[in-house]
Symmetry: C2
Subunit: 318 residues, 2 copies
């Protein structure tokens, strides 16, 4: 059983073209070529944390993959900092034997989530982006912006975060001479001025209001990946011309869409699955009079695709 | 992240007194001190195989544990032999960080299952055992007999298996000068002559019939751990004076008890949980006029307890 850590993973990542691989994963999933059981979940109280186990396989592949990713919020009084952790395990699909472990410490989950945001931007973004708006200042707020700003070629970014210090840090650390970064003092400012909005927080209270949102906007909702998390006023879903889910089965249980369904604001048949859109090979660029919401809860096929590619590349390292 | 393989695991196992540890795990589980989500499952067709993901934690412990165990049935025409595989992963309960991996290739799952059989024998077996009967000739048929024959001090063992060659091999390989081994030509012979019966096959058709079973018998049902597997005629459950489940929540979904419940042959309130019996500190030795069935589907607390003990012992190795 071969084990690769972040050192090897970071060496091979820049050489991999992940976007088409993960697109293919979503497509296989939506067309029924993948076996993806419900997400396993462990929740902790003291300190707060949650662990997601995502697993499955694409039929006929060499491997099946089990991914474990955690986010713990730390305990300031005991000096325990917030941390992300995790591993991806590959097993032989014909014998079940353990093949390899990527001790990625959640990094590959972050990367494949950013890539999914990139796929949504490519397929769904308005043709002209005034400004990218980002809610949150954490890892995804950074990776999504870095990834998406290359795909849609908009360099204006407005950021909102709960803590002033985190926003300042975000702007300082994201400044690379290319991005034009500014801060928003309220989430409404993001809704009013940006037409590609990425939400990346673990908020349990909606942060983006329907009334403030302008037409011609794509929202990529990344933060809400468990039943209690919610970043969007659910009325936004009612208003949306397209509601795109990475996985309909998962979005019934968790994420933004689940709130809309539970409160009977939307019906399941209004939801389009990302892999179906990819299979159609036709981009649905958000028109000036439309609103599109893409809800990303994170699907095991993304983990399967990135784990296979990274593992094979690590094996080829000297 | 420290990684230990079978070499280290086999070095520390003989030094560990697992029975009280796993008893304590069952007790913690039944008293609500453990968090154990539903079992994750992956099923494969070509070749046939299944993977179980069992995970959880005992509140206040240092670690949480995720266990992956697989059984693949091989593909004779392609020369692929049946195999077991798996790993146990330990993570920090306060930060989620990955701590260690035991690449046990399913061995610790086998051991903790045998220990659970031992616990059942200790608590539930008739005071005088005429003969141990074992259905199946695989790993569990061996480990359960080795473990249980030391606890109840009965050395007579009758074995039944589907293949004559496997039975002969079983008898030859299990002969250690202490066990008196003989073969049964039919499962009825086991039912008629043994008063401690261990069932260990992946059968989907009941192998032990109610009419053949004599009073004063304890059955430890180990083989059925998924919804479709069944080794006991469900009428045996109706006849039983005690129906003991390692986990009531799991036995509703899988194992012998699930068939009795689905067919309305027994009610959920007739089932006693193993950890509750352990907490009572009173053995329920099967009386001459009783039948007791213990249904073991395998609970994550067993994996948690064995993983912690083995990992800590491996860490102390030079």
């Amino acid at each position: 059983m071969k084990i690769f850590g972040l050192k090897e993973i970071n060496k091979v990542l820049p050489k991999l073209d992940l976007l088409p691989l993960i697109k293919e994963g979503f497509r296989a999933y939506s067309l029924g070529f993948a076996v993806v059981p419900p997400v396993g979940e462990l929740v902790f109280d003291k300190p707060q944390g949650d662990v997601h186990i995502k697993y499955g396989y694409i039929k006929g592949d060499d491997y099946y993959v089990i991914k474990i990713a955690s986010g713990f919020y730390g305990d300031v009084s005991s000096g325990i900092l917030p941390t992300q952790g995790g591993v991806m395990l590959l097993f032989d699909q014909k014998t079940g034997k353990e093949v390899g472990i990527l001790v990625d410490e959640c990094h590959l989950t972050n990367v494949r989530t950013a890539v999914a945001g990139g796929i949504c931007a490519e397929l769904l973004a308005p043709k002209k982006i005034d400004s990218i708006g980002v809610i949150g200042t954490g890892v995804q707020a950074r990776m999504q912006v870095n990834y998406i700003s290359n795909i849609i070629e908009c360099k204006k970014v407005k950021v909102w975060g709960r803590s002033k210090i985190s926003v300042e840090k975000y702007i300082e650390e994201m400044s690379d001479g290319e991005l034009e970064l500014s801060n928003a003092t309220h989430t409404d400012e993001i809704a009013e001025s940006c037409n590609l909005i990425i939400t990346t927080t673990p908020s349990k209270i909606p942060l983006i209001k329907k009334d403030k949102l302008k037409k011609g906007t794509l929202i990529i909702a990344v933060g809400s990946d468990s039943p209690e998390k919610q970043e969007l006023d659910e009325k936004i879903l009612q208003e949306a011309d397209y509601i795109v889910a990475d996985s309909i089965a998962q979005c019934i249980e968790r994420g933004e869409i689940s709130h809309g369904l539970k409160n009977n604001i939307i019906n399941q048949d209004q939801i389009v699955e990302l892999g179906k859109l990819i299979d159609n090979k036709k981009n649905v660029n958000c028109a000036d009079d439309q609103i599109i919401v893409a809800d990303l809860t994170g699907v095991a096929v993304q983990d399967i695709q990135i784990a296979k590619a990274v593992y094979k590349a690590c094996e080829r390292l000297d």
